[in-house]
């Protein structure tokens, strides 16, 4: 199993930390992992993205241009990465702020109302975990148990009290992912 993922959105949406939790959880399941962020000028002015690879075998290139899954959280990232999804791959996006819907017909497209659900839950910070939940529903590459362990490892201890809320947000995401285009 090798899963190549791009997560892209605005700085502050928790793009990099979502990737970090996914990668740490992968380690908990004895997978090989890599996490390569955009660290360029763009992260200072708006968009942020991270490439995460989970694999059962040694990972070659940590830098990719084609992905099994793209998790897209704003219009700029949709414009940039829609074309980078491998044919038959998955595009998961949050419709908040999206004015040009994804147009490809050769990939599976799913929607998660992460921004709305996070706002409704009263805890907007769990936005990225809702999106992560939606992803895990579509690609159950990591077990929830490993995510919990990954959260424990990647969060400083003072934040451990927020773990149950994060796990709940993942469940919300799993339950609310909508299918837009099935091949």
């Amino acid at each position: 199993m090798t899963e190549e993922i791009i997560i892209a959105g605005f700085g502050g949406q928790g793009v990099l930390s979502m990737g970090k939790i996914l990668a740490y959880s992968g380690i908990m399941q004895n997978k090989e992992v890599s996490w390569f962020p955009s660290y360029g000028p763009e992260m200072r002015g708006g968009t942020a993205n991270v490439t995460v690879i989970l694999s059962d075998t040694r990972i070659s290139s940590p830098v990719l241009h084609h992905y099994d899954t793209a998790i897209i959280l704003n219009q700029q990232s949709l414009d940039k990465f829609e074309k980078s999804v491998k044919p038959g791959g998955i595009l998961l996006y949050d419709p908040n702020g999206i004015v040009h819907e994804p147009a490809r017909k050769d990939i599976k497209i799913y929607k998660i109302e992460g921004t709305r659900l996070a706002a409704e839950s009263g805890n907007p910070k769990t936005f990225n975990m809702i999106v992560l939940g939606a992803y895990l529903k579509l690609k159950p590459v990591i077990e929830l148990d490993s995510i919990e362990k990954g959260l424990k490892k990647s969060l400083p201890e003072r934040h451990h009290k927020s773990i149950p809320g994060n796990i709940e947000a993942i469940r919300v995401g799993q339950e609310n992912v909508e299918s837009i285009l099935v091949l």
Binding site: K20, A23, Y24, I27, E32, V33, S34, W35, F36, P37, Y39, G40, P41, I59, S60, S61, P62, V63, L64, H65, K153, S154
Partner: protein, 360 residues
């Protein structure tokens, strides 16, 4: 398995320094290596092992602090990124001329000039062919993973002290910024005064107390004396070439074409080999781990059996010159790479291989 973590390449440089018993770090922040200094500041090793961490006023100051500290036989290091390393060039030449062991880390970014903050490998010439003035060589280690960033700190110190010569880890923005699984080693205590006396007592400035004074200098005004020094340096460099070459090969046994790449470019090329093999093409990868000493003998040997080499570097063609010297005209040697901070894709490398060597 020991202590396994998910960490950035830059963070593990700091962690490795603390755990291998480093005595001092002198540095100045610059993207994409600032996490080295940041991690040291967060970890506060001066409270744990007594290691000194000092943010100098500039890179020029850092390298000269390193020069002073290295002359006392302590395990000391600095890190920077390309423009900062240029500022250090004078000091690096002095350290090599004074035959002082130390560790330097360059997390390369795109140049020339202030350039960009994105990954690059355009400091190959600077690192392997000079940078500073005079006939000197650095021991050059090129990590291709976060684990190697960790391992090469200790290896760098080991080789630096073995040869009384500066060692440098030539990394780049990809390896520095990416996170991977890394297994951290045991804590090793810093050397005691007695151990330093035993290891470096014959040359280090430790307080002269009853013996002839030791002088750490690169200055020798008598040209015959300076030639003698140079002969000693050259003998040392030849010994490194004979004993310290390190490299790794992937799928080279039956290869008709070989990619030569180091650091992050080697990771990208591994994917190219996978693509090529899936299409039935016999392609292998040779990854130099030491850039000096360069793995000339194995490339020379492979030149007898393959149809061509493609040197893949994130620069306009630097290491390719060393590959050509090793191959010595036997088979074609071409270069491919994106540069200025652009990272080539495995597919671009594959296309270049077909176009430049296989002929499609």
């Amino acid at each position: 398995m020991g202590d396994v973590r998910l960490m950035k390449g830059n963070e593990v440089i700091a962690e490795a320094a603390i755990r291998c018993g480093c005595d001092g770090y002198f540095g100045y922040p610059i993207t994409p290596q600032s996490e080295v200094l940041e991690t040291l500041a967060i970890r506060r090793p001066w409270e744990e092992t007594g290691m000194v961490v000092l943010q100098a006023e500039s890179e020029t100051a850092s390298i000269n602090m390193l020069y002073g500290a290295a002359s006392t036989g302590k395990k000391v290091m600095t890190s920077s990124s390309s423009p900062g390393i240029s500022l250090m060039a004078e000091g690096i030449s002095y350290l090599a001329g004074a035959e002082l062991p130390c560790l330097i880390v360059n997390v390369q970014r795109g140049g020339p000039g202030l350039g960009t903050i994105q990954p690059s490998q355009a400091d190959y010439f600077q690192t392997c062919k000079g940078g500073g003035h005079g006939d000197y060589k650095l021991i050059v280690l090129a990590p291709a993973s976060v684990q190697e960033m960790y391992d090469f700190v200790e290896l760098g110190f080991e080789l630096a002290f073995k040869y009384k010569n500066p060692a440098i880890i030539l990394s780049d923005g990809v390896i520095g910024q990416m996170m991977e699984k890394v297994e951290l080693g045991e804590y090793k205590p810093r050397w005691t005064a007695e151990q330093i006396q035993e290891i470096s007592g014959s040359w280090a400035c430790l307080g002269k107390a009853g013996r002839e004074r030791h002088i750490s200098t690169s200055l020798e005004l008598d040209p015959y004396g300076m030639e003698k020094n140079n002969l000693r340096f050259q003998a040392k460099y030849r010994e490194m070439e004979a004993k310290e070459v390190r490299y790794e090969m992937f799928d080279c046994e039956d290869a008709e074409y070989i990619l030569v790449a180091f650091g992050s470019s080697a990771r990208i090329c591994q994917k190219t080999v996978e693509i090529a093999r899936s299409k039935g093409l016999k392609v292998g990868l040779l990854r130099p781990i030491t850039l000096f000493p360069f793995p000339t003998p194995i490339i020379r040997e492979l030149a007898g059996t393959v149809k061509g080499f493609l040197s893949v570097e994130m620069n306009a063609g630097q290491m390719v010159e060393d590959v050509r010297l090793a191959v010595n005209g036997k088979v074609p040697v071409e270069h491919f790479g994106r540069y200025g901070g652009v990272i080539h894709t495995p597919e671009e490398v594959f296309d270049a291989l077909k176009q430049k060597l296989i002929g499609e």
